[in-house]
């Protein structure tokens, strides 16, 4: 880290912050996608997203 310039350090911090924000907002869609992908009978999106029992 000692050899890195200030600009590089800023870039790394910015990159980490951006990846953290992406992980924050994409984690739940990723979990939903895996659930949809690994189910043989692909459920529809509303059924997958809604916690209410299907009518």
């Amino acid at each position: 880290m000692a050899n890195l310039s200030e600009e590089s350090k800023e870039r790394i911090v910015k990159l980490l912050d951006t990846s953290k924000t992406i992980a924050h907002y994409c984690w739940i869609p990723f979990v939903i996608y895996l659930g949809w992908k690994n189910t043989d009978a692909k459920p529809n999106l509303i059924n997958l997203l809604s916690p209410f029992p299907a009518m």
Binding site: T21, H24, W27, L34, G35, W36, T39, P51
Partner: protein
């Protein structure tokens, strides 16, 4: 009541043959469930759904302070076959209650039985797939926008990695989040856990070792009585029904240089005659000088009693806590009869058996103790039909359809009583709880003393006898809450 996340993780552990009783925090789980049960705050509604064989979701709404809630999604690579809705779930599985701890020999016996199955190869393949199972969980709280994440990745039946994450965009947490990683190894004889948390760079180590007391008794007995077939699995169950576990946890905060250590001993056993289990624990924290001992016994199939004694060796402070759990059956007459059999009368009379048989009840209910004669004693008694009283007690407990459970806990120092009712109402799982002070006293403030009594009080105060007027009020409820849970 278990939260939906806890329930799914528990089901995931069960399907992957992960023994959740064989880890360090589980050593005091039984007394904690009976004495330190959480009281719901305000009102809360949970709506959960298993949307497919591999995924589930959950919506929570509560009014703690303001209206807030959360939405959660689950994914499991292994099918969530054993996850059922609130209408089908047995209350024993839904409620955090007495934890049955099996002895090591009992477990190995069960494993041996499984290995002797004809579908040995098929099971092995299935287990191999299950052993590498993954569970992912994400929960977004609103309006705070805090994300909770959980990843469980099994490497084998005995080892796995568990990651918990807390993330926020606000400045509520340092570095906008906390990541905690657990590497766990769980074997019948011992379990190890290595932990790292980004919060203050905390590192920790937990271990637990099991000592089977029954095996020594069994070996010595075999040498004395070679005539009896003591090596049979039924006899192993009969004798080896206890487990002694010793565990330690060590923590060190690298950033704040704060250490932490605690040790625990747990002894779990079952009565050979009645099959009723009991658990004794002793915990010690040498840094703060706290010694805590508990004794928990399941006195019958529908009641549990627990007591705890805390003592601080540095300050000499002590406290005694009591707690109990009472389960209610769906059918009252059956409840009374079964309790009567288990508690008082081991030799069910012929007339009573006829009465129960006339109601066409299953054998486990009509004759929970089978044909075992308790008077024969442990030295000569052989369980009928290769099923011990312990298994019969467990089976009876599992099969009975409980409708509700009432929990009560108090301690001498706190002067408060915690009460909790958990049960089924239609297809809902309901939890109602309160914390109250039964006899609250209020002392009048000095400024509010009446001027009429000032002359008389001044004479008494001058002599050093200052008596403040105390008025007793009725019960003072400090916490009350209701929680509804519906799963489909």
């Amino acid at each position: 009541m278990h939260s939906y996340m806890d329930y799914i993780v528990r089901c995931f552990d069960t399907s992957n043959q992960w023994d959740h009783t064989n880890v360090y925090p589980a050593m005091v789980a039984t007394p904690k469930a009976i004495l330190d049960f959480p009281i719901p705050q305000a009102s809360k509604v949970d709506i959960n759904k298993k949307s497919s064989s591999h995924s589930a979701n959950s919506l929570t709404l509560s009014n703690i302070g303001a209206i807030n809630g959360s939405i959660a999604y689950f994914y499991s690579s292994a099918p969530l076959c054993n996850v059922v809705g609130s209408s089908e779930i047995s209350l024993q599985d839904a409620v955090n209650t007495y934890q049955f701890v099996d002895s090591i020999n009992n477990k190995s016996y069960n494993n041996n039985n499984n290995n002797n199955d004809k579908n040995k190869n098929k099971n092995k393949n299935k287990n191999k797939n299950k052993n590498n199972a993954t569970l992912l969980y994400g929960k977004l709280n609103f309006p705070s926008n805090i994300l909770e994440g959980l990843v469980i990745k099994n490497f084998s039946q005995n080892s796995r990695i568990l990651m918990k994450c807390l993330s926020t965009n606000s400045n509520l947490l340092k570095n906008h989040g906390i990541l905690t990683v657990y590497f766990q190894q769980n074997y019948p004889k011992y379990s190890l856990e290595y932990i790292y948390s980004s919060n203050e760079n905390l590192v920790g180590f937990r271990n637990l070792y099991n000592f089977n007391l029954g095996s020594t008794i069994d070996t010595s007995f075999e040498t004395i009585n070679n005539d009896d077939d003591l090596s049979s699995p039924s006899n192993k169950i009969f004798y080896d029904n206890s487990r002694l576990s010793i565990g330690t946890e060590i923590w060190y905060g690298i950033s704040n240089m704060t250490p932490g250590i605690s040790n625990s001993i747990r002894y779990s056993t079952y009565s050979t005659y009645t099959g009723k289990p009991l658990t004794i624990t002793l915990s010690c924290n040498p840094l703060i000088g706290l010694l805590s001992s508990t004794y928990t016994v399941k006195t019958s199939v529908n009641s549990t009693l627990c007591s705890k004694y805390d003592f601080n060796v540095y300050s000499y402070e002590s406290d005694v806590s009591f707690g109990c759990e009472l389960w209610n059956f769906r059918k009252r007459p059956l409840n009374e009869e079964i309790s009567r059999i288990l508690d008082t009368d081991h030799h069910a009379t012929q007339s009573f058996q006829k009465l129960m048989k006339s109601k066409n009840l299953p054998n486990a209910v009509t004759n929970p103790l089978g044909n075992v004669d308790p008077s024969r004693g442990s030295s000569s008694g052989k369980p009928a039909n290769n099923i011990s009283n312990i298994e019969k007690f467990k089976d009876l407990y599992r099969t009975i359809g409980f409708s509700s459970v009432f929990k009560l806990a108090t301690s001498l120092n706190n002067h408060t009583i915690n009460m909790l009712w958990e049960g089924k109402w239609n297809d809902f799982l309901v939890t109602v709880g309160c914390n109250f002070v039964p006899f609250s006293s209020s002392e009048e403030e000095p400024g509010l003393k009446s001027s009429a009594s000032s002359s008389s009080s001044s004479s008494s105060s001058s002599s050093g006898e200052t008596k403040k007027p105390v008025s007793f009020r009725g019960p003072d409820i400090t916490k009350f809450g209701i929680s509804l849970q519906y799963s489909s």
